[in-house]
Symmetry: C2
Subunit: 167 residues, 2 copies
C-alpha cells in the first residue's frame, strides 16, 4: 500500500491529500461515484456506513451517516459541475457543525494501471481548517484509503479485463 | 451613501467586503432573499438582470443571467444551511469559468435602523481569488451596493412602519 501525503500549510485554509492506487482510473472513478462501492471504503473502519443519497452530477446531492453502537454522524453536500473520471467537486458539511461548509475537489490522474488521487479542500477560514486537522481526520483518511486499496484489489480480481466494461 | 470596504490579503484565497446600509436588518434581508427585489439591485447597473431561480433555503438553487445588447453572463450556485436574517451561505460559479466555484457567506449585523453587511468569499486557490479581483469586480460590487441603497430607500418610503410587516 502507498502512503498518503497530507499537507496543510500554516496560515492557509487548505488541506491537500495525495495517494497512488494500484488500479486503472476508470475503476477508481467507479469506487468514488457508485454509492454501492463508496459505502465499502469511505471513512474509518470502525463505523457502519449508510448512504442516503449519492448523485454524482451537477447539482446532485449526497448524504451519509456513519454509526457505531452509541453514536451517529451525518455528513452532506452538493456536487458542483460535471463529475468525470478526471475531476469531481463537491461541498462538504459535517452536521455536527452546521454552517461550516468546505469545498472539496478531487483529481484522478491516469498513470496506466495506476491512478494518482489528489484531493484539495478549502475551508471558510484558517481556524475551520485547523479544527478539521485537530479533529484527528488523518486517521480516518488513512483508514478509508486503506479500505479503498482493498476494494480496488477485490474489484480488479473480479474484472481483470482492461476494458472496464464488466459491470 | 456609505463606502464599501474591500479587503483581499495577499497570499490568501479570501475576499471580504463590508458596507453599512441605512435600513433595518429585516428590510436588508428582504432585499437579499426576495428575487423580485434582488433583481433590482444585484450587479452592475449597465446589465439587465434575469433571475431564473432563487431559493434561499438549505439546498435551494439560484441562477441569474446578466445581459447587455451583445452578451449574456450566467451565474449559479446552491444555498447551504438555513438562510436567516443573521446569515446566508451559498456557492457561486460564473458559467464562463466552469469548475471555479467559490463559497460566499453573508452576515447581516443589526444596528437598529442601520445594518452592517459583511460578505466573506473563499476561492479554491489564491490564483482564482486574484483572477476575480483582476476581473474588475470592485466596480460591479459598488454599483450593486449603490443600487441596494436606492432600493432600500424606496422600500423604506413605501413601508415606514418599523414592524416591517408591510408586504
Amino acid at each position: 500500500m502507498a502512503a498518503t501525503k497530507i499537507t496543510a500549510p500554516a496560515g492557509t485554509p487548505f488541506i491537500d491529500m495525495e495517494r497512488e492506487f494500484a488500479a486503472p482510473r476508470a475503476l477508481v472513478y467507479r469506487a468514488y461515484s457508485d454509492p454501492e462501492l463508496v459505502k465499502q471504503w469511505l471513512g474509518p473502519r470502525k463505523y457502519k456506513m449508510e448512504i442516503e443519497v449519492w448523485e454524482p452530477r451537477d447539482g446532485g446531492r449526497w448524504r451519509y451517516v456513519q454509526r457505531d453502537a452509541t453514536s451517529a454522524y451525518g455528513f452532506h453536500g452538493v456536487f458542483h459541475g460535471p463529475q468525470t473520471e478526471e475531476r469531481m467537486l463537491q461541498t462538504f458539511e459535517f452536521e455536527g457543525a452546521p454552517g461550516h461548509v468546505s469545498l472539496e475537489s478531487l483529481e484522478l490522474i491516469d498513470r496506466g494501471d495506476r491512478t494518482l488521487v489528489r484531493n484539495h479542500s478549502v475551508f471558510q477560514s484558517v481556524e475551520a481548517r485547523n479544527a478539521m486537522i485537530e479533529s484527528g481526520m488523518e486517521g480516518g483518511v488513512n483508514d478509508g484509503f486503506d479500505r479503498l486499496d482493498e476494494l480496488l484489489e477485490r474489484l480488479g480480481a473480479q474484472a481483470p479485463a482492461p476494458s472496464g466494461a464488466a459491470r
